[in-house]
Amino acid sequence: MANIRVQTADFDIGAEFAALCVGRADIGGLGCFVGTVRDTAKGRKISAMTLEHYPAMTEAAMGRIAVAAEQRWELLGCTLIHRVGRLLPGENIVLVLAASPHRQAALDATGFLIDWLKTRAPFWKKESFPDGTEEWVSANDADEAAASRWA
């Protein structure tokens, strides 16, 4: 049921909404989260962000996260798209859409899906700075806390 993709190309949010809803009128609420590349990291300007992943595992891990959401909420469909490769500030990184008959389930499932994607899918971010240095992003306790509130 979930539409899961890992890609270097950008995504079209409107087209993804339309694809999720086409031919059906049973959806009462659609939750949406878009993650984008912020131009600063811990107060420093960044020039780019590079996303690495574990190709053989990524889509399986995202599928398990979608199944976990489907077990918790009444979902009629969801879309998880994560970009990889080199991205510039302002560019899209990740799209989460969750469709449900009801608003609260759509919103809660969207929050759950992005929280678990951040902590349970094998992606790693590396920040590039204008002086040419690069740094791997460290995992964040706040992200782990956000994910664990759904336990």
Binding site: Y54, T119, A121, P122
Partner: protein
């Protein structure tokens, strides 16, 4: 000996200097924790990558594993830092 495929990601790959290696693991290396201890002896890069295990994660055959997970012939074993996607 058991043959396994090892994969490294993010800064583990950079410290070790290769993205993957096929290794024959001695019979005494039974768990992921044993494997980490054995890998530390392979090179200075391996030692640097596996110096501490607090920020180390592992997957066996594309599913998250723990230090106690057992190793079998043919396993694909990936080591990486805590994930930072989203």
């Amino acid at each position: 000996m058991r043959n396994v495929k090892l994969l490294y990601f993010a800064w583990l790959r950079e410290r070790i200097g290769v993205a993957e290696e096929d290794l024959a693991v001695p019979d005494g290396v039974i768990t992921i924790a044993d494997l980490i201890a054995w890998l530390r002896l392979r090179s200075a890069g391996h030692l640097a990558a596996f110096a501490t295990t607090t920020s180390l994660r592992c997957a066996v055959n594309q599913d998250f594993a723990t230090p106690e997970t057992l190793i079998a012939t043919g396993d694909e074993i990936a080591f990486f830092p805590p994930v930072t996607g989203g």
